[in-house]
Symmetry: C2
Subunit: 511 residues, 2 copies
């Protein structure tokens, strides 16, 4: 607290010295620079254009000056969640900041790094190796009292590892990689290695954990968790290979890294042969499907009207879980699997959480449901401007707002960054004439300009960059924009949602 | 409370009228009669003989005057568990009372019946049909605040149904069957029918419930639960067939009963093909086996030293669960399955509960581990006399004491009562010269006298009775004892227990 007070006193003194005009000019310059590298432009939907900029502004606002303190679920906009930070910071907010304000992403991860001792202590309490990061916290301690939906959600650590790997791949920030990223990756990998085990058939299983969907708990081999753990284990092994001497200081060597690669290779990914879809967790698709027909509109959100005993044991999904895996580990699925999985989970996803629409937008767009994707995109973007969950007075849903960027860039822009490669697969819904966005990647500024017919990739500065466009490798150089045609999409019948839980369809003339 | 006060006043007035000698004589006559029909005699182990009589006396004491109030876990002997009653009354205490003091068993079930409205209300709260009986209670309300180990343990209801069916089969008490049993069976069957569901392959699944073992929770298709639910569903359908008019008053008809039989027939009983054993619940045998080698003696009971998160996700068993199914639904397993299952679970059962040793004794005896059975028998019988769990000051472990009778009669006597048939398969351990026990069955008094060589069945009064002896049908008539040779047992290698959790081996000369 004295440090914060000193910082405030210094900031006030500096502000008085700078004066109003100076402050205004500095602020303007900062934001002009931000919009120059980060703006998302939509043509054809003025309202949504404003909403996306509102969302992006608040995402920046939540993180730009966090300065190695946690980015809370509500940012600094309200008292909701008691100021706690959750996994959604790394999952939804940091990917946006990584490509638009990377220093803020770095600082947020440095904050996680600063809490490593507490996370190691927590792992030890639980009889585990490495670090177990908290479900909800202010300064690093676990503040959730309900372990089935808190401590058991070990995917928290893999989301941090994923954010570390993404930040490093997008920035080539080797100092961070060595000083911060390595240790975060090593300690989270150690957690997975001790949490899971090899069964007699040599499969690596992670049993008794909770995935992102809060209407399930304590299940075996949650696909999202296992795929993120796999990424985590491999990223840690790669980091040890990059920094063997620093790894040695953490007691990590190539032998330990080899055990991580083994576990990653042997990771169990459940598959329902009969239905031809991935069960969210082992056995999930055998459960009774929630009786949506007899659930009235007034009974949503379900958690306020039904006991968890009932929610946990049935097929009903609060927020994207398997579908989130389709996005962030899209490299682990075929296109056909994604389409089938999306359609399956769409029927039972009720979106009683704001952490769902943006992910559904991304996968809906990828598998060809562009109009549905557009509706989800709008839901994420308007979450607070229209107070869709009736609780904006408690503060903004920062992760959902970040999700508006994700829906635009990863949804209609088709941006992916698996294994450090930057690829796009843009395709616009009927109601958008044009989508343009900018982002930073390895010291370069890139602009992507999408119309119904084609996409133009412009490198605004930096050395030539290799990209993917709908599966084709292209290279862009400064001042030499590359325009590529958008191939025709796949036609699929529209999936259905639980009755009454369809996203709001925006009228074409809503502007 | 006024009723209790009136009862006390009346009892005191009557006692003063009767006088000391009269009271003593009445008490003596009552107990003489009890021992005459219920005594268990052991030759070769005086200490254990005393312990078994102590156990039987306290089992009677807990229930004989409960008079339609609950039989608490501690009886009336102490404040442990706050005076609450649990499922173990029906599971362990009532089988003993059914064959030794059936009126007490009847009254205990009448008490459950008196709480049906509360159990129906609870089911409704949970979105279920029928009646959901509480995990722990004094007068019928659920008093457990931790639902994964309370409400989710729905097997409570099936244990009540099992006790109802057993009492009726052993007494032919048709008035009870019609007035009390029928409704208990119907309402518990309705619970199972609504709790479970048919999957696309037509299998009836009961997901997300907790079985007897308190080191697991919220699992799918717990074998014990499913087999008891199957028994419950069939018993209810049979009761509707016996009393169609009374069933109609409960809104139950043959169509509804048919849906119960369907569910019972289609019940999922998981099987691990590779290991050739039954998983306690679906997926259980895939879990990591608890690290017993690195668990020190001071870390038992595990629940005081490890988080439930860890216990729930690993193969470690607090108390007989699958092995309890091998006993009470022994008709659903082959002999070879029982032997393999027992050996498998023996390796991971830590007996951090007093509700385990007696069941392990019964199955150890059945599958041929007679010396091990003897040690478990002694553990159940000496639970309080030797304060084995260091908490006898809180009251006696009534269910474990009842378990001493079960270990003797169902263990070394091999008594079973599946589907209303009374069968025996007696076989003595090295340290017992003789075992004799008496029991009531359909208005008859039966005495069974077992030596190493043979067993003699004597009908003390009542019409001829058909029995089973080691798989052979025999008929006993009054004053015509039947003596049958005991066939040689199967030799099997002794199973192992978690290090340090072996039962105490009693020295042969401990008398």
């Amino acid at each position: 607290m004295p440090a914060v007070r000193d910082q405030v006193i210094a900031a006030l003194a500096e502000a008085r010295h700078t004066g109003w005009d100076g402050l205004l000019a500095a602020q303007r310059a900062y934001l002009d620079d931000f919009w120059e590298r980060a703006d998302v432009e939509l043509e054809g939907d003025t309202e949504l254009q404003q909403a996306v900029r509102f969302a992006l502004f608040h995402t920046l606002q939540s993180g730009a000056r966090a300065e190695q303190r946690a980015i809370a679920a509500k940012g600094l906009t309200g008292p909701g969640y008691d100021g706690h930070t959750f996994w959604d910071t790394e999952r939804f907010v940091l990917p946006v900041l990584t490509y638009t304000a990377p220093d803020a992403a770095r600082d947020a991860l440095r904050w996680r790094h600063a809490t490593l001792d507490l996370a190691r202590e927590r792992a030890k309490q639980l009889g585990l190796e490495g670090a177990a990061f908290p479900w909800r916290t202010i300064r690093g301690q676990e503040c959730s009292g309900y372990w089935p939906a808190g401590t058991a959600a070990f995917h928290v650590g893999a989301n941090i590892a994923d954010a570390v790997a993404r930040y490093h791949a997008a920035t080539d920030d080797d100092a961070f990689d060595r000083e911060v990223g390595l240790e975060l990756l090593v300690e989270t990998a150690r957690l997975w290695r001790s949490l899971g085990h090899h069964d007699p058939q040599g499969r690596f299983r992670i049993d008794g954990v909770t995935g992102p969907d809060e209407y399930s708990a304590i299940a075996d081999n949650n696909v999202y968790t296992n795929l993120l753990a796999q990424l985590n284990l491999r990223a840690a092994a790669d980091a040890v290979a990059r920094h063997p001497r620093h790894a040695a200081e953490l007691g990590a060597d190539f032998e330990e890294a080899a055990t991580w690669r083994d576990a990653a290779r042997d990771m169990v990914i459940p598959w329902d042969e009969m239905l031809g879809v991935h069960p969210q967790s082992e056995g999930f698709t055998n459960h009774q499907v929630w009786d949506f027909e007899h659930t009235s509109p007034g009974q949503y959100p379900l958690l306020l009207h039904f006991p968890y005993f009932d929610l946990y044991r049935k097929q009903v999904v609060k927020q994207a879980d398997l579908v989130l895996a389709l996005h962030v580990r899209g490299d682990a699925f075929t296109g056909e699997e994604k389409a089938r999985d999306f359609e399956y989970y769409e029927r039972m996803t009720v979106r009683d959480s704001s952490l769902s629409a943006c992910t559904q937008a991304v996968i809906a767009a990828e598998v060809g449901h562009l109009e549905l994707a557009y509706d989800y995109f709008a839901e994420a973007a308007f979450m607070d401007l229209r107070d869709l969950e009736h609780n904006t007075r408690d503060g903004l849903h920062i992760a959902s707002l970040a999700g508006a960027w994700i829906a635009a860039v990863s949804g209609f822009g088709g941006m992916r960054d698996h294994n450090g490669e930057l690829t796009f697969a843009p395709r616009l819904p009927a109601r958008l004439e044009r989508l343009a966005f900018r982002l930073l990647f390895r010291g370069r500024r890139l602009k992507v300009d999408v119309t119904k017919q084609d996409a133009t990739y412009t490198l605004l500065d930096g050395p030539p960059l290799r990209l993917g466009h709908h599966g084709t490798a292209i290279t862009v150089s400064k001042n030499e924009p590359v325009t590529e045609a958008i191939p025709p999409g796949v036609e699929r019948p529209a999936p259905s949602q639980p009755p009454g839980r369809e996203p709001t369809r925006r009228a074409l003339d809503s502007t």
